[in-house]
Subunit: 310 residues, 3 copies
C-alpha cells in the first residue's frame, strides 16, 4: 500500500466521463423548459441583492457599518457615495427582474430601463420616511422587551428589526409591481432570521416581532399599528379556492387583517381572510380561523396535564 | 486622560500570557481525545462543501447563477468546466470523509481514492435524473402555493426547494455509505432555511415543503409521492430503545412512513415508526403516534377558547 | 426599439437626484438620535465578531478548521498564532462595546482599554475549562441521539453544539458586564442555527439541544446538569411587571429554572420564574406556567382527534 498524501496524488478524471455527462446534461437542458434559464439574459443576483440591502441598511442606520466612521460633517459625502451605488445596482437588478418577464411579454427595452430607473429613484426617495417608520419599530422593541438594553443592541442583534427593515424596503418594490426581486430580498432576510414575511404583507407603525423564529406572515396579511407578535406565530391562509380547471386561484385576499394594538403570543396560528378586532390579545398556541371583535382576549383553556411521578 | 483614537494606541499582550495559555491548551489537547482532530488528516471542509453545492445547483438550474450567461451554444463548455470542478472537489471531500473513518479502521489509501472517485462519478451521472425529480418538485410548489408567481421565483427564493435540492444530492452520498459529508451538506442547507432533513430520509416525487421553518424530518422517514408538508412539522422518533448496557440502539427504523398523496399541515408532530395511509390529511397541530388508514382526515377538535372582553 | 445589452447602455443618474436625497437624509440624521451612530466612534463589527468566533472554535475543537493541518508537534505554534489574534481582536471589539457606553457615561479611555484587555485575557484563560465543558456536551449529544454516528459528526454538523459553543463564550462576556458584544455573538449563532439563547442564560453541564429550530432560552433562565431540550421549546417570560410610570421593569428574574436531569420535549412552552424539579420530564407541546416537583412526568392528554374518511 502506497502511503502518499492527498496532495501528492494527481487524480485523473476518467477519459470519457466528462463528454458523456455533458451530452446527457446538454440534451436535458434542451428539453426541460421552466427550470433552465438559458437565453442570454441573467436573472437577478442573490449576491448583488445582499449587497444592496447592506448599503440600504447603512443609509437607514448610519454608523452601524463595519468600517466607516461617520460624523455630521462628512455624512453627506458618505451618503452621496452610497446612494449612487444603490441607485445603479438596484436599477440593474430591477432591470433583470423586469426583463425576465419581458422574454414572455415582448416589452420594449427602453420601457424596462425607464421603469427600473424610476422605481430605484422612488425607493431611494422613500428612505427618509422608511427610516422614520423603523425608528418607531425600534422604540416599540425597546418598550416591549425587558431584555432590550439599548436601541443599539436592538439594531445590532434583533432578528425582528432586521427582517422588518428588509420588508419595508421589499414591500415598496412589490407595490411597484416588480417581480422576483422583492421575494428574493425577503428570502435573504429569512435565511438570516427564520422570519418569513411575504413582501406583499402590509405592516403598520410600531411593529414588533420578538425572537421571531418560525414567524410566517402571508402575502395578503394586513397589520395595523402597535402590533406585537412572538416567535412561532403564523398569519396564514386557510384554504385555497380552485377555478373550474382545478387550479388554485392566485392573488385573492386570503390572510388575516390585524387591527391596531393587537398582540399575538408565541405559537398562535391565525388563518384565513378574517379580522382580529383592535386591542385584542391572541394567547399562546391559539388556533383561530374566525374573526373576533375588538377588545377580546382569547386563550386556550388551562390544559389538564397528566402528572405522573417517576 | 489621554484621548487618542483606538488606532493610535499600540496595545501589547502581557509578557507571559501567551506562553502560559499555550501550555495549558497544549496539554489539554493531549488528554482530550474525541473533540480534537490532531493527526495530520483534515476533516471535510464546510466551506468547500458549500462551493460544491453551489456548483451542483448551477448544473441543476442552469442560468440562475451569479455571473455567467449561458445559451445552448456555449452550454457544453460551461457544463464541462463546472462538472470537472465538482468531480475533483467532491472526490477530495469524500476522501477526507472516508479517511477519517480509516484512521480507526486501517483501510488502504488506494481503496479510499477509488471509492471517492467512483462515488463522485456516480453522483454526477445521477444529476440529470435528480434534475428531473427537482423539476417536478418545482411544479408541485407552483401548483400548491397561491403565492407562487413563477417557477423562477420558486427556484430563486423558496427555502423548501433549496433544502430539497441539497437533500436529493446528500441522500445519494448517504446511500453510498459516505460518512460526515452528507450530514454537513444537510447542515449547510439547514443554516440557510431552518429546514432540518436528515440525509437518510427517503423522499418521493412531487414533494413540496411550504414555508418550512422548523420542519424536522428524521433519518429513517420514508415519504411517498405528492406529499405536502407545512412549516413546523416534525416527522420524528418517539422513543429510543436501549441495549443491555443502557446505550441507545442506533440504526433501526424509528421515523414515520408517509404513503402517497399525504398532506401534513403546520405544526403537526408525527412520531415513531408508524404509517400514514395514502391520501390522508394530518391537520395543523395534530400530535400523532399511531398509524392511520388511507383516506383519513385527522384534525384537532375545534378548541374551546376562553373569550374575555378587556 | 434599440436592442442593446444591459452592459452597453451607460445609465445616468438624473442630475438633481443625488443632491436632493442627500439633503433630506442629512437633515434626518441631525434630528433622529437613537438610530444614528454618527459620533466618530464605531460600534462593534458583526463581521469581526464572526471571525473571532471562528478562531475560538478552532482553539476549542482543533483540527476541525478549513486548511491547517495540526499535530501535537506544531500545535503550540498554531495556538500561539491564533490566541494572539483572538486577544487583539476581542479586546478591540470589547473596547468598542464599552466606548459606546462611555459616550453617555464619560469614563476614562485608559480604564476602557484596561477593562477590555483584562476581559479578553480572562476569556482566553477560561478556554480550557470551556473546552472541557463542551466535550461533555458533545458526549451528551452522542448518547442522547440515535442518529449521531460520531463525535466528529456532532461537532461538524449539529446546530445545538454550535450554538452552545458560542453561548458558553458569550456568557463569559455577559457575566463580565460587557454590553452589545455578547448579544451580537448570540445573534450570529442564531442566524446560523435558529436557536435563540440569550447570553445571560445559565447552562449546566452535559447540555443537549436536539435539532433546535425555534428553541428560545431567555436571559434569566437557569439550567442544571444533564438537561435535554428538543426543537421548538421556549423557556420564556410570562408577563412583564411595569413600574409606576408604566414602563417595563428590566433585569428581574423572569425565566424558568430547570433542575438537573430534566428533559423538555419538542414544542413545549415553559414560562415565568418557575422551577422544574430535578429528573422531571416535560412532554411535547406542554404549556406550563407553574413550578413542578422533582421526578414528575407531565404530558398533554392523548388528544381526541377528529377522524373522517374522505
Amino acid at each position: 500500500m502506497e502511503n502518499c498524501s492527498e496532495e501528492c496524488i494527481k487524480r485523473k478524471i476518467p477519459a470519457n466521463f466528462i463528454p458523456e455527462v455533458i451530452n446527457e446534461l446538454s440534451s436535458s437542458y434542451k428539453n426541460m423548459q421552466g427550470i433552465n434559464h438559458i437565453a442570454g439574459i441573467n436573472l437577478p443576483s442573490r449576491k448583488e441583492i445582499a449587497l444592496i440591502l447592506k448599503d440600504i441598511r447603512e443609509i437607514i442606520f448610519p454608523g452601524f457599518a463595519e468600517k466607516k466612521i461617520i460624523n455630521l460633517e462628512n455624512a453627506h459625502y458618505f451618503i452621496g457615495d452610497i446612494v449612487s451605488r444603490v441607485y445603479i445596482e438596484l436599477s440593474r437588478q430591477i432591470t433583470r427582474s423586469l426583463r425576465y418577464h419581458c422574454t414572455i411579454n415582448k416589452c420594449s427595452e427602453c420601457d424596462i430601463y425607464k421603469q427600473a430607473d424610476d422605481t430605484a429613484a422612488n425607493l431611494i426617495k422613500k428612505l427618509p420616511e422608511i427610516r422614520n417608520t423603523l425608528k418607531n419599530d425600534v422604540v416599540a422593541a425597546y418598550e416591549g422587551d425587558p431584555a432590550a438594553k439599548s436601541f443599539e443592541e436592538i439594531i445590532l442583534s434583533y432578528p425582528g428589526i432586521y427582517t422588518v427593515t428588509v420588508h419595508r424596503v421589499a414591500h415598496e418594490l412589490y407595490s411597484a409591481g416588480i417581480p422576483l426581486l422583492p421575494r428574493m430580498m425577503a428570502s435573504l432576510a429569512y435565511s438570516d432570521t427564520g422570519i418569513d414575511i411575504h413582501p406583499g404583507a402590509k405592516l403598520g407603525n410600531n411593529f414588533f416581532i420578538d425572537h421571531g423564529a418560525g414567524v410566517v406572515i402571508g402575502e395578503t396579511a394586513n397589520i395595523g399599528d402597535n402590533v406585537k407578535i412572538y416567535q412561532g406565530v403564523t398569519l396564514g391562509a386557510l384554504s385555497f379556492p380552485k377555478d373550474e380547471n382545478g387550479n388554485i386561484v392566485k392573488g385573492i385576499k386570503r390572510h388575516p387583517t390585524l387591527e391596531d394594538n393587537v398582540t399575538v403570543y408565541s405559537g398562535a396560528t391565525v388563518l384565513g381572510d378574517i379580522t382580529i378586532g383592535h386591542d385584542s390579545v391572541i394567547g399562546g398556541n391559539v388556533w383561530l380561523t374566525e374573526s373576533i371583535s375588538p377588545n377580546t382576549v382569547l386563550t386556550i383553556p388551562k390544559p389538564e396535564l397528566k402528572v405522573k411521578t417517576k
